[in-house]
């Protein structure tokens, strides 16, 4: 293998090397320029000389395969790669600013700041998982933020791509990664469960809100294996003012069994974006760790963590979507709301991990100042929340799978579209407004939503009425 020829001023495949900005254990980072590319660039060059860690080569191979296949605002754009036959490198967009690692001296962060940041990271993870990639090294130094606010995940050297060979799986008998953040199943050799990233993010959230690492800093296998049976101190036992909903979220992320965590990063992001809707369970009430007798039972009865069949990342995410149903609880025809419930029920029946957001738009007057109270003096907003819950009751959904939202907006379609976008809704169910007069006057909300939404939209109509002859003046939808 040729020696690296990298020095300031040298040229590799048209890239002119600038300065070395980082020299890590596995790779060095250089600023580079290329005629025709006007964004700031970084060239990552692996350490491959003799005596270096062989992991550096394999993890760089993984990055070279994965980086060019990623897209979107949550990953650094990849401009080119060079292979080990000549000079191995990857050229990526240089994200301005620093990683979250720089925030460590400020810990613990205010709850609100941590909530917002981790919600953004969860959104970024959801985007990554949708691209069939599990990051496997979520920690403060792998996370940056764009000026526009989006979290960017960097460093894919330990990642798993569900459609590509996992070169790391074969290479190392011991799990490779950052000890404090590593999910318990990783210690058992599982590399294909996207919920491992949710565990790491939960560790980060715990650390950022308490200032303590939930599983310590132990790097020995023995120290790491403790997390397979020993639960951490509940955050509320460390900080008296710790919000119960936040403890609920954190402890759910760091559950030992992946099945007890959030099914997807989108669902975690959803809870972090709607803290008032987080369903509180006994997790939120815990003030101390499980008694030793319980921990020992886990330690010596690790049946739940036995090897299992290979998971398919895409299939798992697809089975846990976020559904939203748009309801008009005030003016909507009862038969339409019933039809919406029947359709929603059928969709939920096939998706046991899906969660449902029931959404109603409180239309604001464009000119006059709106009163929160209606003519009878009751609070419109609260009335509608109650009505939404009432509508959802027959669905018999577990509270942790259901949320209700009233959006206040001038343009209902735009509000629904924005809700779907921000909350990463996978499937929106909406009723078609009936009656030609109103529809002509107001335009069709469902038509606008169906044509402009980025997600799947189901437009529901009540069962056909025998009296409604085609062309008899009734316009549906």
């Amino acid at each position: 293998m040729p020696k690296p020829l990298v020095k300031s001023g040298a040229e590799i495949d048209g890239y002119t090397i600038g300065e070395c900005v980082h020299a890590g254990g596995m790779a060095t980072l250089w600023t580079v320029t290329h005629p025709g590319i006007d964004v700031p660039l970084l060239m990552k060059i692996p350490r491959v000389s003799e005596g270096e860690d062989p992991a550096a080569i394999v993890s760089f191979e993984m990055e070279m395969m994965i980086l060019p296949r990623l897209a979107g605002p949550h990953v650094p754009t990849c401009f080119g790669t060079g292979d080990f036959a000549h000079q191995a490198y990857a050229v990526i967009e240089r994200i301005p600013g620093t990683t979250l690692y720089k925030r460590l001296p400020d810990l613990p962060l205010p709850y609100e700041e941590a909530r917002q940041q981790v919600a953004k990271i969860a959104t970024a993870l959801a985007d990554l998982h949708r691209q069939n990639v599990i990051h496997h090294d979520i920690k403060p130094s792998s996370i940056m933020f764009r000026d526009s606010g989006e979290a960017v995940l960097i460093d894919y050297g330990l990642s798993h791509h569900d459609h590509l060979p996992d070169l790391l799986q074969a290479e190392f008998r011991l799990p490779y990664g950052t000890a404090p953040y590593m999910a318990p199943e990783r210690l058992l050799g599982v590399r294909d469960d996207p919920r491992s990233d949710l565990f790491s993010l939960g560790v980060l959230l715990y650390f950022f809100t308490t200032g303590e690492r939930p599983f310590g800093e132990g790097e020995t296998l023995r120290a790491m294996r403790r997390r397979l049976w020993r639960d951490p101190y509940p955050p509320r036992s460390l900080r008296a003012d710790y919000p119960p909903w936040l403890q609920e979220v954190v402890l759910r992320c760091i559950e030992i069994d992946p099945a007890w965590r959030y099914p997807t990063a989108s669902q975690l992001a959803f809870d972090l974006s709607h803290p008032d809707q987080v369903k509180l369970t006994t997790r939120s009430e815990r003030m101390k760790r499980d008694p030793l007798s319980v921990a020992w039972r886990r330690r010596f009865n690790q049946g739940v963590m036995q090897p299992r069949a290979k998971a398919d990342v895409a299939a798992q995410i697809a089975s846990s979507p976020i559904l939203a149903v748009a309801l008009d609880t005030v003016e909507g025809a009862p038969e339409l709301n019933e039809a919406l419930r029947v359709t929603t029920e059928r969709i939920l029946a096939t998706l046991p991990s899906a969660r449902l957001a029931c959404v109603n738009v409180l239309k604001l007057n464009r000119i006059a100042i709106d009163k929160t109270l209606d003519e009878q003096g009751s609070n419109k907003h609260i009335d509608r929340l109650v009505a939404l819950r009432h509508w959802a009751t027959p669905l018999k959904l577990d509270e942790s799978r259901l949320s209700v939202h009233v959006l206040e907006a001038v343009d209902p379609a735009a509000a629904l579209l924005e809700f779907a976008e921000v909350n990463q809704v996978d499937h929106l169910i909406i009723g078609a407004r009936q009656g030609s007069f109103r529809r002509t006057l107001l335009g069709s909300v469902s038509a606008k939503v169906a044509s402009e939404a980025a997600c799947t939209v189901t437009v529901v109509r009540p069962p056909r009425m025998a009296a409604a002859k085609p062309g008899a003046g009734v316009v549906w939808g």
Binding site: V58, M65, A85, H163, L164, L167, E171
Partner: protein, 246 residues
């Protein structure tokens, strides 16, 4: 250059036609045929004639165990395969049989090696079922990529410089970069008798510049292929299994 690689056509004209059409539409410039042109299917003449034409135009072809069995009575097979091969023997003319008899066991293009079963002992027709089988093939050649078929189930194996093995069941239509600095064994699914649960015809595209491999599937007229098998009095299971992909 974009290579289209086909294996285990097994006399299935409809499947081979669909694969050739799809590969050409995707821009394939050169064809590689990994053997088992005949056996099981009802159109061995058409398939062999087409292979002969492609080879005359520069395609690479190697010999499979069924191709060998046409010309040798010592090759032992299971009952249905044996019935099919005896039927096939009566269908092929001298030129077609000579074409099959003269096919090489493997073709080595330095960077790439083409063989029907695996590279360590091609004449023994071993199946690549595990990473250990794949490792045996990979250590016997310095080629960057070895292409083989024979087992009728797609798989992709890789061996690092330290002889660590990785295996993958490739996803259809997802390109995988075959990194330099390690060796790869691309096991193809079958054109004419898929056995991985997907009844559509399998083949592979390989870009020799970017070193990216893409496993492809071509839907084809299974009904016709199956009824041709039945019409010709071949064992009915050979027709039935086509729609099940096993």
């Amino acid at each position: 250059m974009l290579l289209a690689v086909f294996s285990d056509i097994h006399g299935n004209r409809q499947a081979f036609e669909a694969c050739l059409k799809l590969a050409r539409a995707k821009g394939a410039e050169r064809f590689v045929l990994l053997g088992d042109f005949v056996g099981y299917g009802a159109d061995p003449e058409w398939v062999v004639d087409t292979a002969m034409e492609l080879v005359a135009q520069g395609a690479v072809a190697v010999r499979g165990n069924h191709d060998e069995a046409v010309n040798s009575t010592t090759e032992t097979m299971n009952n249905e395969a044996q019935i099919a091969i005896e039927w096939t023997r009566g269908r092929l003319d001298v030129a077609q049989r000579r074409f099959l008899a003269e096919l090489p066991m493997l073709v080595d293009e330095t960077e790439r090696l083409y063989v029907h079963s695996e590279a360590s002992s091609p004449q023994r027709w071993h199946y690549v079922r595990t990473t250990a089988d794949a490792a045996k093939s990979l250590i016997s050649t310095p080629a960057h990529v070895t292409f083989c078929g024979h087992i009728h189930r797609p798989a992709l194996y890789s061996m690092s410089v330290t002889a660590k093995m990785t295996g993958l069941v490739p996803k259809t239509d997802v390109s995988v970069p075959l990194l330099r600095g390690r060796q790869w064994l691309a096991v193809l699914g079958s054109v004419g008798q898929p056995r991985d649960g997907d009844p559509s015809a399998a083949f592979v595209l390989f870009d020799t510049v970017s070193c990216e491999i893409t496993y492809c599937r071509a839907p084809y007229d299974i009904e016709t292929a199956a009824s041709r098998i039945r019409e010709n009095g071949l064992p009915p299971w050979l027709a039935d299994r086509l729609s099940q992909g096993r």
